[in-house]
């Protein structure tokens, strides 16, 4: 009994130990802001995986909601109020609402059709961000704003300090992943797994499939939008390419790379992808070949992703 509990929670414990202590050891291999980027994109990938790995639905359009979250945060800081908290909230809300509205339109589709229609809507949002340049800055990007210090009443946290920002990122990450984990362990989450395993059987069991998929989609995109808001804050900049389908592809890659069946898989995928790309692109312009090689090797030798190798015994 206790042993099983230990192996189940071991990955979580290890991951959190690594994340909490990151600023201490990160400078040996990289730098703190890179750690923030890993966590932020990892959140985006975990959010995608909520839909992909746990509900069995592939989306290639998550960058749209990631990007809406980013623009929401940037526009808030630029035009509304110098409040980081408000920026995150508005970005997240904007992305989630957009997803909830789009959802009913696409729910009836499955498989690769669903994936392609998510690309379609994603590219439509990309187009809007590009064309509406009076508001979004268009191709030049949204600039002239930056993350503001957080006033906690008893102290002010200066977010320009990368370590402070990293811990803010970690707090947001904890809240979001905690929420997603809780949802996945709830009856709602069990229904999602049932849908993933065998949609028809789940239907016979009386689970309202479309409603569940819509909810899963909205939750997944909502948390992707949170990641987007944090991404905007990390860079103090947003440009339309954050909404492009190639960014969506990156999230999918991270999820598959790290292991779709495991909750933390996408975070590992994000770590590998981000650190590898950052490191390799500093060493050589031929980093694309090396990353491509890594992907191919993962598919050939670790088809269940890195964590998939370990996760086979543990329940998903």
């Amino acid at each position: 009994m206790r042993n099983e509990s230990l192996t189940r929670h071991a990955p979580t414990v290890i991951v959190w130990l690594a994340l909490l202590s990151l600023p201490e050891w990160i400078n040996l291999v990289a730098y703190t802001d890179l750690g923030s980027q890993v966590v932020i994109l990892g959140l985006g990938a975990i959010a995608l995986n909520f839909l992909l790995g746990f509900t069995g639905v592939l989306s290639f359009g998550h960058a749209a909601y990631f990007g809406i979250g980013a623009y929401g945060a940037g526009l808030t800081l630029r035009y509304l109020a110098p409040s980081t908290g408000l920026a995150i909230a508005i970005g997240a809300l904007a992305g989630m609402v957009a997803a909830m509205v789009i959802g009913p339109l696409i729910i009836r589709l499955r498989g690769v059709y669903f994936a392609m229609v998510t690309i379609a809507f994603g590219q439509i949002f990309y187009f809007i961000a590009f064309r509406w340049h009076s508001v979004t800055g268009g191709d030049d990007g949204l600039t002239n704003w930056s993350r503001q210090p957080i006033d906690l009443g008893f102290a002010t946290v200066d977010l320009k300090n990368p370590i402070n920002f990293y811990y803010l990122t970690l707090i947001v990450f904890a809240l979001c992943t905690g929420a997603m984990a809780w949802l996945l362990n709830s009856p709602f989450g069990r229904s999602l797994l049932a849908i993933r395993e065998n949609e028809r059987r789940a239907q016979f069991l009386g689970i309202p499939i479309n409603l569940h998929i819509w909810l899963s989609w909205s939750i997944s995109c909502g948390f992707a939008a949170v990641a987007g808001a944090m991404y905007a804050l990390l860079n103090n900049f947003v440009d339309p390419r954050a909404l492009h389908w190639t960014q969506s592809g990156t999230f999918v890659i991270m999820a598959v790379l790290g292991g779709m069946r495991s909750f933390w898989g996408p975070l590992i995928g994000s770590a590998i992808y981000v650190v590898l790309q950052d490191y390799l692109s500093s060493r050589t312009t031929n980093w694309m070949s090396l990353i491509g090689l890594v992907f191919i090797l993962v598919v050939l030798f670790f088809p269940r992703g890195i964590l998939g190798m370990f996760g086979r015994r543990a329940s998903s």
Partner: protein, 311 residues
Amino acid sequence: MRHKGERESPQGPSTAVSGAPADMNQLILFNLFNGLIVGAFYALMALGLSLIMNLTGVINFAHGGFLAIGAYLAYSLIPYVGFWGALIIAPLLTAAIGLVVERLLIRRVYGLDPLYSLLLTFGLAFILEDATRLIWGAQAVAYQVPSALTTPLSYDYFFLTGYRLLMVAIAAVVVIALFVILKYTRLGMRIRAGTTDLETVSALGVNTSILRNLNFGLGIYLAGLAGVLAAGQLGLQPTIGSSLIMPSFVSIIIGGLGSLPGTLLGGLLIGVASSLTSVFYPSATEAVMYVLMASVLLVRPRGLLGEEGRF
């Protein structure tokens, strides 16, 4: 070249000396026609992608990379075999590379979740782009088309060059040949049968490894050919294929997965749609193909000519 002050008078009925804008009907008609040309090109590339997807379920994200390879091989061959020689040989060489790639890499992901083929071909796309940049450089290279082809044939409704005519002629010939192969040859019949039920085909004694290998090669041939044709119209640099991959996917989805005529139709449709959009709202020429795709999927989820229950 041109000297100061010298100018031929333009032909065509539409213009007054003061420079009236083009007659709307003329524009629409032209763009309908031009859209078919552009669409034929999209269809050529999309058909290759569709062939591969239908038989093996592999989503070939590296298709754009093979397009680029085809174009660059043609560029390198032209000094030796001339434009026409390159047009024939380069796609064949690209197909040969495709056969090797299938044998070494692609066949390892058959039967797995399509996501793995995605990850594999994504990685392959990275490698192909990097390889072309390494071999031929990042600087765009000057790809020359015989001057006989680059003269306009007419100045008004059929604002057309010899090259475009050639492109659409080749695309038409190849597409017809493809459908003939699929319908009447043994290989074609096996591919079609395999698309419906590969297990049974295998049980009937057909070597499915070779079948899938040749099918992939055929798909890559089309990509290579599309590349050679594209190089005559576009700047030839390592990312030439990356902007063409999305229209291919969109063509397939609009036409319906599993249906090659559907893919052809899809390609033509988005060609015409984006050309017509350029008359009224040019900024949206790229976005319109996504709007079209979304509309088709919402109204008829399996695509225009797609089969029920596929994917």
